[in-house]
């Protein structure tokens, strides 16, 4: 059923092919978050892998920055409908975190945890094989605090609420536990190409 009088501004074919359903292209980089920017001191910053409450491996800022670095470029998609093309990130792949820790992932799921107490769940399989990283740089510079710096998760093939800002660690869980938004009606997985915005989508 069409909306009376609406024609819209259908983007060109080349743009449409890169836009998941319901998304529109923006040139800006909108800022969306549940609360204030946390105040993070790099002297005390740390990033920790945990299994439940048990720490597996922790890095200081200096140690983290000594890890192998990888660049990723591509499109990102926010559940609030905007998509941004050709974003450029640099950071440490999940694979390289595990390698440096000398461990295999102890379970199939995890929760990313932010300095602002935000959490979001991601299956381990969506981070391995180069699919996810902890990014420290955007567009060639340290990530600004508005966009999650000093470090944020980057899982670009899922809606961007999965790419937790100000991340302080990843906590492996035995089952797929919902995080902040997932417990408030948002989809447990969040594939933009299947338009998995909300529970049941």
């Amino acid at each position: 059923m069409s909306t009376r009088g609406f024609t819209g501004r259908k983007p060109p074919e080349a743009t449409r092919e890169r836009l998941p359903p319901g998304q529109y292209l923006t040139e800006d980089f909108p800022v969306l978050q549940i609360g204030p920017n946390p105040r993070i001191d790099l002297a005390t910053w740390s990033f920790t892998l945990r299994e439940g409450s048990r720490p597996l491996k922790s890095w200081s800022w200096d140690a983290f920055n000594a890890l192998p670095r990888t660049r990723w470029g591509g499109d990102i998609h926010c559940v609030t409908k905007w998509s941004k093309f050709d974003t450029a990130w640099e950071g440490v792949r999940f694979d390289d975190l595990l390698a440096d820790a000398g461990i295999a992932a102890p379970s199939a799921f995890l929760l990313a945890e932010g300095y602002d107490d935000y959490t979001t769940n991601v299956p381990v399989a969506d981070l391995t094989g180069g699919k996810g990283m902890v990014a420290t740089h955007y567009d060639g510079a340290p990530i600004p605090v508005d966009h999650g710096g000093p470090a944020r998760l980057l899982v670009p093939h899922l809606y961007f609420w999965k790419s937790a800002k100000w991340v302080k660690g990843l906590r492996f869980t035995q089952r797929d536990e919902g995080g902040f938004w997932e417990l408030r009606g948002y989809h447990m997985y969040g594939d933009p190409w299947r338009e998995q915005r909300f529970t049941g989508d």
């Binding site: 009088g5 024609t7 259908k10 508005d146 529970t199």
Partner: protein, 240 residues
Amino acid sequence: MIDPAPGPLPWQTAILTAIRPVTRRVKSYRFRVAFDRPMLAGQHVDVRLTAPDGYQAQRSYSIASPPDGDGTIELLIEGLPDGEVSGFFDAVAAVGDTIELRGPIGGSFVWRPEDGGPLLLAGGGSGVVPLLSMLRHRAATAPAVPALLLYSVRDAGEIIAAEELAVRARDEPHFQLMLNLTRAGGRRVDAAMIAEALDRLGPPRHAYLCGGNPFVGAVADLLLDAGVDPARVRTERFGG
């Protein structure tokens, strides 16, 4: 705080029952729609428009009306000149039209009467819309909860619900209004303004900030500078 998800969120057909100008650029749109789940003050809806060739555009809009169960919602939409969806509402939408929407959405930027106060609300421009829902809900259900709205706009012509807010400030003993005009000799919200708001209200149990990113970011930082616990501050930003 958390309600179990009641299942898939369906697209629904809403009937546009009234349109009313609010400011130079903002109009009020009243829709008749029966949600399948309870609404909370501060939530939003997703709106979906469909062109004859099947092309669709979606946007999110905050709900201005309170959760009063009357089977309608009010959206206040700013007609942006280059807005694909807001421009349609401004220039084309008419009473009697049917529009697809789904909601209510959002479980973070919400206030329930049992959450109590003091309640500090800060809105920049049309960011006041979800705060209006909270104020209307508070007046109807928990008028003894102390509340203060710090509302910053460029000039007086942009004040949404100006008369309603003035009447509330006059008639509701526990509600205070601080209007800030940034143009014509005015200034942006600063530390002195935040200090005055906190002094008049007392330490907030909950703070809700909504507006463009520069406004929300600045107010959030000022509240933290003033010693407000970040866990008590919820933000919602548009431009996304």
